[in-house]
């Protein structure tokens, strides 16, 4: 047979029928640019519409739901909405914006799998485990595996609050737990059931996964398994109800969701039909009964007994069909022609007062056409049915995945929606975002650290030399005084996550720009100087610069050709010992993913990854002997980057990465799993690795994250909130962030070409902000004070 690569290519070539350009030209037209005057007219109309939209929020017929003005919801101007995209903001759906100030400070974890409310609490199943918020004081409590919860990375799951307040949670790979008010535990007898023997194995596909769960008014728990089986628990008795093909009549995927009516009827959503089980017989509802075609993925029971369903947006099959109501006799379908914001839906829920809420998620209709979302369509919408009419509103900046984890309504009528930001709450008087607490996870036990079998003692046996005296700013200098605008500057392009290092001896930042030119930045006068050194480091966007304090050199670390910069002689020298780095790389397929200076050993430490086999090796470089030493291989397969060292904890700080859109850093098996990018700390003396759990996954595309290794901890620029957060080595958390509210809103700061600590002025220096996409980087320098969090512009962009 041909080799694997050829087989894959031939296979896809054979089935990948090209799209002919004539097909495109026939189906759509090239849009013309609209004159500015037309935009202005439209903007005026849109503002008028916006006012009307607030009326929606404050004039609902259910006054207990929406009965106050919205002082804390920030309305954005609609002046930028051109009239060529009228569908992006329908008349009934004005745009509101989640105020970042309302977002509690903690790193978000966006993979919220399910939400439920009950007993004064909001429950959310996240990648961390289950979070319970007290809805009165908004305090959060996090439950993980140490609390008995069957947390499994990558598994989807659900959570339900029973009428008696019992909380049930499941994972798709057959985990099941009940909360007793303190701890979670698996119900007795569950592990003896044939249906879960053998149990699914974490990390492997679960062929008979749990797909849905519901609890009836009588407390009976119902679990749907993928292999067309219904499992029920009545008190302590388990009952397996086989669901034959005849009963479900070949539903292609059964049990995507379940709900129990007041009379005990179990309603089961499946693709293309709805099933009703009264404990004895199954009834089926199909298109012939008036059910809308489409794949049903959500079912809810209203207080008046109406059954509501929503369908998956069947994009490839045709137009979305919205939601439908069954009143016990007839089905009524609601779509955008009836006032639903759009027929494509992300979540459906019914409040205790009977209000029906439909969430439209991610990139709703028209968002792609809205220039405000050129880079990342990120607007959601909510439709509300008061029993007679639908009304809707759009919500800006909610990110991808708005509502994909479901929604729930609490006793006060507040609608809670899963989102990338956290859990967004809308009650008509305020918009709140509850964010999943980041940082150290319950159940993270330092004794769980794993030490490798082989670890070179060089980092313990080598001692750093006395470092040259650190520079200080000359008396009379004012480091807060911005530098002269008219000065030579480095190339503002992206130069890497660690393209700068602070030379403590000279008090200057050494920076290798995107053009591979060497510059220094004087942090006392805020002035760039092009060094024009003898020699250059090997060109490498993303180059890792580390200042070796005891040798007073800057190392540009690469896998195959590192270089040493002598600031005093102004020379770059290629490292001669490249063949020894990291010691055994027969294929040469190594990359460097991070580097820091170890002030204990005086060596530069680099993380080397061997491509393809996920081997991560820590190496040490001694500039005095020009020698690399392979220290040891790190335990585990999870992807991580070495991004800092803490002298306080004597730990190397690694971070796992997620890209914030739900795509994975690791072995994801679905759309929104990225939990194996675990943060770690590693004892450099022993190699002992402690995974701190998935809670501190850094959100943001790797390519636009900046981080600062040359500080006494690690700083990262996070997404989507563009905060700079630092790692607290005492608590193993990333909870502390600089919001940057004093940073100009019109200057992109999704990342910086470099971030570097400035110990002279006790601040983090941020070089050349840039944004994701086509926007060019800005030539400017900012600083964040370590103590106050104040952002200061050290060098303004050049005058146009």
């Amino acid at each position: 047979m041909p080799d694997l690569s050829t087989s894959i290519r031939e296979y896809y070539d054979a089935v990948a029928e090209p799209v002919d350009v004539s097909e495109i030209l026939k189906r759509s037209g090239h849009r013309r640019v609209v004159p500015n005057w037309a935009v202005a007219v439209a903007a005026g109309l849109a503002v008028f519409v916006l006012i009307g939209g607030f009326v929606w929020l404050i004039s609902g017929t259910d006054s207990e739901v929406i009965d106050e003005p919205m002082p804390t919801v920030v309305a954005t101007t609609t002046a930028n909405i051109p009239d060529e995209t009228p569908v992006s903001v329908p008349d009934t759906a004005p745009l509101i914006k989640v105020d970042p100030a309302l977002v509690a400070s903690s790193l978000p974890v966006d993979a919220t799998k399910a939400v439920a409310v009950g007993d004064g609490s909001l429950w959310a199943w996240t990648d961390l485990g289950i979070v319970r918020w007290n809805l009165e004081d908004r305090n959060a409590e996090l439950f993980g595996s140490a609390d008995g919860l069957p947390v499994t990375d990558g598994a989807s799951g659900g959570i339900v609050v029973a009428p008696d307040g019992t909380v049930w949670a499941f994972t798709s790979n057959q985990g099941l737990a009940r909360f007793d008010g303190t701890r979670w535990s698996e119900p007795a007898g569950y592990d003896q059931l044939d249906i879960v023997n053998p149990r699914c194995v974490d990390g492997e596909e679960c062929l008979n996964s749990i797909t849905a769960m519901a609890v009836g008014p009588d407390g009976v728990l119902s679990l749907a398994f993928r292999e067309e089986t219904l499992l029920q628990l009545d008190g302590t008795e388990w009952n397996v109800v086989p669901v034959t093909s005849a009963e479900v009549d070949g539903a292609s995927v059964w049990a995507t969701d379940m709900a129990v009516a007041a009379d005990g009827t179990l309603w089961v959503a499946s693709w293309e039909e709805l099933l009703a089980y009264d404990g004895d017989e199954w009834d089926r509802f199909t298109a012939a009964d008036g059910l809308p075609s489409g794949k049903i993925d959500s079912v809810a029971v209203a207080p008046n007994g109406d059954i509501w369903i929503k369908t998956i947006d069947p994009f490839e099959e045709g137009a979305a069909v919205g939601v439908a109501r069954f009143d016990g006799d007839l089905w009524t379908v609601f779509d955008e022609n009836d006032g639903l914001y759009e027929s494509a839906t992300a979540a459906l829920t019914v409040g205790p007062d009977g209000t029906v809420w439909v969430v439209h998620g991610g990139a709703v209709r028209g968002a792609l056409d809205d220039p405000r979302y050129d880079e990342e369509p990120a607007v959601g919408a909510v439709s509300r049915f008061d029993g007679t009419t639908w009304s809707s509103i759009t919500i800006a900046d909610v990110g991808w995945g708005f509502g994909w984890g479901g929604a729930a309504v609490d006793d006060t009528g507040t609608l809670w929606i899963t989102s990338r930001l956290g859990i967004v709450g809308l009650n008509g008087s305020e918009a709140t975002v509850l964010r999943v607490p980041g940082g150290i996870r319950p159940g993270v036990d330092p004794s769980n650290a794993v030490a490798p079998d082989v670890w070179d003692p060089i980092l313990s046996t080598t001692a750093a030399k006395a470092a040259p005296a650190a520079a200080t700013c000359p008396e009379g200098s004012d480091p807060d005084n911005p530098g002269i605008v008219d000065q030579a500057r480095p190339n503002p392009g992206y130069a890497g996550n660690q393209a700068a290092a602070f030379d403590r001896h000279t008090g200057r930042i050494v920076y290798v720009d995107a053009a591979n030119e060497t510059w220094t930045f004087d942090v006392c006068t805020n002035t760039w100087e092009q060094m024009n050194p003898i020699g250059t480091p090997e060109r490498y966007p993303g180059g890792l610069l580390v200042y070796d304090a005891d040798s007073d050199r800057v190392i540009s670390v690469r896998a195959s050709s590192s270089s040493v910069y002598d600031p005093n002689a102004n020379t770059w020298t290629r490292i001669s010992d490249r063949e020894a780095m990291p010691g055994d790389h027969p294929t040469g397929s190594w990359m460097v993913s991070g580097a820091v200076y170890d002030p204990v050993s005086g060596l530069v430490l680099a993380q080397h990854d061997q491509l393809g086999i996920q081997l991560t090796v820590l190496s040490a470089y001694d500039v005095d002997t020009d020698r690399w030493t392979r220290v040891g291989a790190l335990d585990g397969q999870a992807w991580r980057n070495l991004i800092g060292y803490s002298s306080l904890a004597d730990q190397l700080i690694f971070a796992g990465y997620g890209d914030g859109r739900g795509s994975g850093t690791g072995d994801d098996t679905g759309d929104r799993n990225y939990t194996d990018g675990l943060p770690h700390v590693v004892d450099p003396r022993t190699g002992s690795t402690l995974a701190t759990g998935p809670g501190a996954v850094i959100i943001g595309a790797y390519s636009i994250i900046s981080y600062a290794a040359d500080t006494d901890t690690a700083y990262v620029q996070t997404q989507p909130n563009e905060e700079i957060c630092w790692f607290d080595p005492e608590t193993l958390t990333w909870d502390n962030c600089f919001e940057g509210s004093d940073y100009p809103a019109d200057v992109a700061r999704q990342g910086f070409s470099a971030m570097v600590g400035d110990p002279i002025n006790n601040r983090l220096v941020l070089i050349n902000p840039h944004s994701f996409g086509q926007s060019p980087a800005v030539s400017a320098v900012w600083a964040v004070d370590f103590d106050t969090g104040q952002w200061t512009q050290l060098l303004a962009p050049p005058t146009p």
Partner: protein, 153 residues
């Protein structure tokens, strides 16, 4: 003038359609992937003023296609071509590809199958190059294990 713009777009499609299509098909299967490609290109044509100026439009249009072809909350079939339509290849290949996660499959198909660089795949997949390597390594390992072939085969 319209003709020249159409010519520009035609050249654009010739240049980028194959890469866009294979990216979307590797992610979503042939039917949905091809539809998404068509939708993305249609969007590109409708917004030609914007798209024509992009240096690297494949990643952008991939996300457009991805959005037009909404991700699902629930598992869905058809991640790989349906059996019976493929040429002769290793019989277990389609099923083995189908058992990979979407990102693993994309990395394997784009990088290993079509020779994309890690950077090119990373741009389309909206992940880092390192993540592409992670998915590629794991995907190939799974694929080889499923097919019983060695790394050198």
């Amino acid at each position: 003038m319209v003709g020249s713009v159409e010519d520009e777009f035609t050249d654009f499609v010739k240049l980028y359609e194959p890469r866009l299509r294979i990216a979307l098909m590797s992610a979503y299967g042939p039917e949905r992937g091809r539809d998404a490609t068509a939708e993305a290109l249609a969007y590109g044509w409708e917004h030609w003023d914007r798209v024509s100026g992009m240096d690297e439009p494949v990643g952008y249009l991939y996300r457009v296609g991805q959005s037009k072809s909404r991700p699902r909350l629930r598992p869905r079939p058809d991640p790989v071509p349906a059996s019976g339509t493929e040429p002769w290849v290793e019989p277990g290949l389609p099923a083995a590809l189908g058992r990979l996660s979407r990102k693993q499959r994309m990395a394997v198909v784009l990088v290993d199958g079509y020779g994309w660089t890690h950077g090119e795949a990373a741009e389309v997949m909206s992940v880092s190059e390192a993540t592409v390597r992670t998915h590629l390594g794991r995907g190939l390992r799974k694929l080889r294990a499923a097919l019983g072939v060695t790394a050198d085969a």
